[in-house]
Amino acid sequence: MIDPLRSDLVPLAILAGIGTYAARALPLLATGADRLPAPVLAYLRLIGPAVLGAIAAVNVFVDDASLRLGPEAVAVVVGALIGRWRDSLLVGMAATVLAVLLLRATIAA
């Protein structure tokens, strides 16, 4: 039985959080971020699509250090395109969930 109020690992959570917060805060707290050269600003603008795409791609195309081309990958790509077409993340996510359920049912049948 776990004591719900035990707090032995709270310092570990705080330590892990300190480094995470530093990564999140240092660029925001540095001065002069609005006076960066134009190429640097252009580079920073492109980080969003690159890093979010990277997270999604690794999640659906890689499994245990192997390439995976399953229904999840198809559903995520289809859902993202539908979301873009309808200009709605919610519609895109709903389409992804429906697509993955349909594809899994089709494969299982």
């Binding site: 925001l28 002069g32 492109l46 980080i47 979010l52 990277a54 999604a56 996510m93």
Partner: protein, 237 residues
């Protein structure tokens, strides 16, 4: 603020609110799973809540619990978490030029809430408006923080009673939200090139190096390819 600006701001905030619904669902589902997983891994309610409140980074929290389950030393857990979350540096750097005019304490507060999902929502909101909207940025952060922490508690207390997310298709909610927001940020060829190159580089890195470094590599290389595309187009004109 002119009438047109106010109308644009209202429309952008409405879109932010709609987009955040999917993120709430995501935070509730994954947060619940985390709470349940942490309990299964032997963490108390207070310890589980501390990870969600102080660390507040989904993948890193799961990794930490996994390492605790195999009795890994604290130093290796902290190091792994810091490496996993190093990509947040890129998020902050990307938002920093838009936030430079805000007071330092406000930027410090926003930084605390800067997760994958908050960055994604904030970036899309900034892209729609062409500037930072402080209310929108706070909303994006708390739209994750509040459901994530409440779901963590619920998962610890009642997780075993909940259905497996894969049976209702919600296991793809996280990559779906990231892909949807990435595609939504594509406004020109440079952004498209950054998205495609970043994704390809990340997959290649995950296969050849490791998954935790892959996102950083994709996030750093993708924008470089995007800049090359822009410069080539300029050079050919």
């Amino acid at each position: 603020m002119s009438g047109a600006d106010a109308k644009q701001l209202r429309a952008a905030r409405r879109q932010l609110a709609i987009d955040s619904i999917g993120i709430w669902v995501l935070a509730i589902v994954i947060g619940t799973i985390f709470g349940f997983t942490a309990r299964e891994g032997g963490l108390s309610l207070i310890e589980t809540a501390a990870f969600s409140a102080f660390l507040f980074a989904g993948a890193a929290q799961f990794a930490a619990v996994g390492l605790l389950a195999v009795a890994a030393p604290w130093a290796s857990i902290v190091l792994l978490v810091w490496l996993l979350n190093a990509r947040h540096f890129l998020y902050a750097a990307s938002i920093a030029p838009h936030a430079a005019a805000l007071p330092r304490r406000v930027r410090a507060g926003l930084a605390y809430l800067l997760t994958d999902e908050a960055f994604a929502l904030t970036s899309a909101h900034v892209a729609r408006l062409g500037r930072m909207d402080l209310s929108g940025a706070w909303y994006a952060g708390f739209a994750i923080f509040v459901p994530w922490n409440l779901a963590t508690l619920a998962g610890w207390l009642a997780g075993a009673a909940l259905p497996d997310p894969a049976t209702i298709g919600l296991d793809v909610a996280f990559p779906a939200s990231m892909a949807g927001l990435a595609v939504g940020l594509v406004r020109d060829r440079a952004a498209l090139a950054a998205l495609v190159a970043g994704s390809a580089a990340a997959v290649g890195s995950a296969l050849l190096v490791n998954a935790s470094a892959a996102v950083m590599i994709g996030g750093l290389l993708g924008p470089l390819v995007g800049l090359v595309v822009v410069n080539r187009r300029r050079a050919t004109r």
